[in-house]
Amino acid sequence: MFRPLLRRLVIGLVLQSAAATTLQAQTTDDLFNEGVVQTLEITIHSRDWDTLRANFTSNDFYPADVTWNGLRARNVGIRSRGLGSRSGVKPGLEVNFAHYSSRGEFLGLRALVLDNLTTDPSMIRERVAMAFYRRMGIPAPREVHANLYVNGQHTGLYVIVEPVDTAFLQRSLGENTGWLYEYHWLTPYFATFLGENLDLYRPFFEPRTQQTQSTFDLFDPVRELFRTINSAPAGSFRDALNARLDLESTLRLIAVEGFMAEWDGLLGYAGMNNFYLYRPPSSAPARLFPWDADHTFQAADYPLLAGAPENVLMRRMLEDPVLRARYFQLVLEAVNAASSGNWLVNEVTRDYQQIRDSVLADPLKPYTIEEFDAAFAELLAFARTRPAFITSQVQQNR
């Protein structure tokens, strides 16, 4: 009489064990697996969701549960995010796993960004750009497309973006105990020296770690960095700056941005934008990380050195013969990385084909499917013609 019961018990335990093993095996590599369009579910009190959408310009957090692939993160904080991409219809979201508990994490991540893709009709610029940064050896956020459901309702196609935070630093650099700043675009700023007052630097460089440190500890090194950029004598410029800023990785980042026609990056049309600055804990020089690349691939004939004369950092680097030569060398490396094996064309095509059905099903996308297809065609043309254009630009300016 107990045998059926025993059998059910054993089967149940085996199944439960198998399920647990599956869940335990999930990692961030699975979450950012570019081979699939992920599915993310958010459960949030209906009043809170209505309030978030009505007050989408606010940064207020609301509690929610987030489920991915059978894994549920409870009581996470979500908020509306973005600058030009803010939307009350299809909100861009920050999912913060630690907002309501200092122990909170999900697969080792403290937070995720859900990019609503409302400023990019192709819906793949950001993801392709970040993949290219990584291909060029630049630490950049991992990204993957996902269909988002809120309280069971399909909210559309998003990109899950790995935030630049302590988890990202640990993964990319093997340590995360330094000072991380998020750059905020407030006014057109071209790396000039702002002045002696440390409070002048605070609005531009928001501390994302070590926030409780004194103003001096936080911002004196930032001030001295820009003093060096602006005041170091030409003869000692390279050495003086290299002590404060890793010039190899900086040149590499600017070279890749130049190749990708990023018109809203370090050499942006309206000043510097979309980067993080990280000062390691030792006396090692600072590094820059890219962020928010949805304005890349602006045009296939976008000038390589657009924005360079206005930006003090880039102008002075180009005035140094060694740095100038290295820069153009890195640009050609980017050309090669994009062309080799038709990488950029294949990447754009693969991403387009992967998400097209999801774009069709997206009920809240601000673009028609025809606009999506046209944007893809432009990107494809960019991928095919940009290497030759950039090669000719290098030959002209070298």
Partner: protein
């Protein structure tokens, strides 16, 4: 009404006092200090001739009318705190003006207005009520006044033992409201009772959402105090009383929980979503000897959170508890506030935030089923120097500590010290 007990071991001031702008205050001080002397000189003849007299700060018209003007000015000077350089040392504690009195030995009244928002209130008017005495056992009060809950909340600000009320009292006890209350003394005056109904006990604590106000339910209140010993002139115990109280009302859906605050009024706990019945329970006790007083309270507030879960289901009740224990010693001076006196006092108070569910994983979010526990412990050491019947100087040293027992919050748990002085004129 059950009167609040003064820490100064003595006289009752049945009404809160009146305040002023600074210039008015100075003028009033001069007037108040000068008029009684001249008035008293003429009192004998005036009393005999017209029935109008100036008696001890009140004006009497014969035997049937008494009117008493009230003024209160409190100025605070922050001496030191842990927050770094102090930018603004001076602040007004309270400035109020008003009048109270009695008509025909039957009707007591009070009207009082504040000149600043010193009670988180929604109106500058404070106590505005009339109290009709049918007999000692049955009196009826109507108007706007404090709800009968908490000994310390019902103690006038100028009679407080310390510059600020205990954290739990500030957070849990309701403030003033418009309502009707019956009260009286029975059983040979040993038992006092108060029972009333009020319009919206927690209006002062609501968000600006007008829907919240319309959904706010009336508050039912009750308080009973047993006083086995009252105003005994000799013996080691002059007063002894114990009491219990309850307030119940309905809270509308929203971020409408009460919050705990630090001495500087900054919140240390965030508002939580509530919906349903709010129940306050309180117990109080007081022993007063010839030179010492010990008193304390235990308070609890529970909020239902119907349909407030992330999924739309019910959450466990939100529970906020607290209490304090105060000891006061009169170093010199006679009981009461008529002459010079010096008291030293100490108070330990505690306020905790949590939920009925105390087993699941804790979170700090406003829809957490198990709210991560958070407590604040406060030690307050003080001295009260009664310079004159109307003038008092207080000094407090305050130590506040937040306790995050499960380590879920990113908060500073180091003790915060504050030293502050208050200069008070209260007529």
């Amino acid at each position: 009404m059950i009167r609040p007990t003064s820490s100064d071991i003595g006289t009752w001031r049945c009404a809160p006092h009146v305040t002023f702008r600074a210039t008015c205050a100075v003028a009033t001080v001069v007037l108040a200090l000068s008029v009684p002397a001249s008035a008293q000189q003429a009192a004998g003849t005036q009393k005999a001739e017209s029935g109008v007299q100036w008696d001890d700060g009140s004006i009497r018209f014969g035997e049937s009318v008494r009117i008493e003007p009230k003024v209160r000015v409190q100025a605070d000077v922050l001496l030191w705190n842990d927050e770094g350089p102090i930018e603004d040392r001076f602040s007004w504690g309270s400035r109020r003006i008003g009048v109270n009195g009695e008509l025909f030995n039957r009707v007591q009244f009070q009207v009082e207005r504040a000149f600043q928002d010193d009670d988180d209130d929604d109106t500058p008017w404070r106590d505005v009520y009339a109290d009709v005495r049918i007999n000692r056992a049955f009196q009826v009060r109507g108007g706007r006044f404090k709800l009968p809950f908490s000994l310390e909340r019902n103690t006038s600000r100028d009679d407080l033992d310390f510059i600020q009320r205990a954290t739990a009292v500030r957070a849990i006890s309701p403030a003033r409201d418009t309502g009707v209350m019956v009260h009286g003394r029975v059983a040979m005056r040993m038992v006092e009772y108060e029972a009333g109904v009020f319009q919206h006990a927690d209006g002062f604590d609501l968000t600006d959402d007008p829907n919240s106000w319309s959904a706010l339910g009336a508050a039912l209140t009750g308080r009973v105090i047993v006083s086995p010993i009252r105003d005994k002139a000799d013996g080691p115990t002059r007063d002894l009383h114990f009491g219990v109280a309850m307030v119940r009302n309905t809270m509308p859906e929203g971020l409408n929980s009460v919050v705990g605050r630090l001495f500087d009024n900054d919140r240390f706990s965030e508002r939580m979503n509530v919906n349903g019945q709010r129940t306050r329970l309180g117990a109080e006790g007081l022993w007063r000897g010839r030179r010492a007083t010990i008193k304390g309270e235990l308070l609890q507030l529970t909020d239902q959170r119907l349909q407030q879960a992330i999924t739309g289901g019910d959450l466990s009740d939100l529970v906020q508890r607290g209490g304090y224990l105060t000891g006061i010693v009169r170093v010199f001076g006679k009981p009461g506030r008529r002459g010079q006196a010096l008291d030293v006092a100490a108070r330990l108070d505690r306020f905790t935030l949590g939920s009925a569910n105390d087993t699941d994983e804790p979170f700090t979010n406003p829809r957490a089923d198990r709210v991560a526990p958070l407590a604040k412990n406060t030690w307050t050491f003080g001295g009260n120097w009664q310079v004159h019947r109307w003038v008092r100087v207080q000094g407090n040293l305050i130590r506040e500590t937040l306790v995050d027992s499960l380590g879920v919050r990113d908060i500073n748990t180091d003790p915060r010290w504050t030293a502050i002085m208050r200069f008070q004129f209260a007529l």
